[in-house]
């Protein structure tokens, strides 16, 4: 019986940790939204930033929102998409007409 109890206790503990992590996230998010996110938004607003500095390796990965559909290939039309980040971010395709 002892092994079973250890197992159940362990699972219960993990569940508890997960639930508290979830609740922690729920409570911390609004306060972060208020302070840090506001500050970040202020940076965006002031500098007119458009993109995250995630992938700095190529123009179209540094500013995906400024690049168009085929910018990955614009330097040489037959070139394969050789930047690794290109395999993570999908080509940006925005429908011409959008209903708000």
């Amino acid at each position: 019986m002892i092994k079973g109890k250890i197992f159940i206790g362990f699972i219960a503990l993990e569940c508890l940790m997960l639930v508290s992590a979830y609740l922690h996230g729920r409570t911390i998010q609004p306060s972060n939204q208020a302070s840090q996110w506001q500050a970040k938004r202020a940076v965006v607003l002031r500098l007119g930033l458009t993109d995250f500095a995630l992938w700095t390796e190529a123009r179209y990965t540094r500013h995906p929102s400024q690049a168009d559909f085929f910018s990955a290939f614009q330097d040489f039309p037959a070139s394969p998409d050789h930047f690794p980040a290109g395999s993570i971010i999908a080509p940006i395709h925005i429908p011409a007409k959008e209903t708000p």
């Binding site: 202020a42 995250f52 959008e98």
Partner: protein, 385 residues
Amino acid sequence: MSKHFKIIDYAISSLLRRKYKSIAILVAYTITVAMLASVLFLTHSLRTETTFVLQGVPDLIVQRMLGGRHELIPLNYAETIKTIRGVAGITPRYWGYYYDPLTEANYTLLGTGSGVATLDLLEGRLPGSVDECAIGAGVAALRGSDQSKELILVNSRNTGVLFEVSGIFHTASTLLTNDLVVLNDPAVVDFFGFPPDKATDFAVRVPNSNEVQTVAAKIKRLFPDTRPITKRELIRTYDMVFNWRSGMMLTVFSAAIIALCIMAWDKATGISAEEKQEIGILKAIGWDTADVLALKFWEGLIISMTSFLTGVLLSYLHVFYCNAFILSAVIKGWSVLFPTFHLTPSFNLFHLLTMGFFTVIPYIASTVIPSWKTAITDPESVMRG
């Protein structure tokens, strides 16, 4: 109740008897879940943060295209655009990329318009003159500018230019500012050698968000060589980068796929002669088929539940407390300057439950189903092997 307690107990003993196999499965399973949950957590919190932070981007950006490429835009376009109804203001933006052979990194050089200003996330202030700069924490660390308080870059005339560091962005903002070198506008123009009558693009202010689309269409009509990018498109871009469908569903389904792989492996190694023998014995000494299946169910549940929960907790620590260091090594690509994530710990319960469902259930099925046939065969022939 007491019966299931005893069966759980026995299931654990059984797993411990096949110690190495159990541990191997447990570890592989945990790592898989941890990886997938990390992707899930990272994309989710990046997405929530993006949608909030990027509300600050310009309402409309107007680029000029030439030969299918982004080109500098003549400043006199601004005069015409300004007259379009709904446009409250237009500012030329000066920015470009700078490859630093010294550190083999790309920086983004950005003009900051005019006016000295401070920001909460900026240690110091924005550049006030042509020989000052504010830099991202990544650039500062890479170039040692946090110590020397200066930065030397080589301009388009191959002359070294010395900038005095007036501010360094806070590490909390690296996601936005890591590779930035912020100069004032004349400094950028001079550095890249832009023609005096051109800017990189325009940021257009359209206070009424309903009008942005119309304004964009009008600009496109007036200047067919331009490409207007609306704020909504911008945010949509990031919605797509961290797309719920391509990111989240991929995560969930790859979780399912990998669970299936583990299962297939487990099945391929099969229910061993020993396990069969054991089932035969249990049947012979009076265990019901249902009891045997309950045993197998618990075996599966113990492994999958433990791995799932441990994996999720590990990934939670990994993403939110260790800045996703493993995952960022993977998604980093060739970026020399890669931001550290300072993410708000939060996750979507529904995503997690979906993932749990797709990992735990198939595994349990894969342990119960192969034993089924053995469990319903006459114990005598099972025991003889």
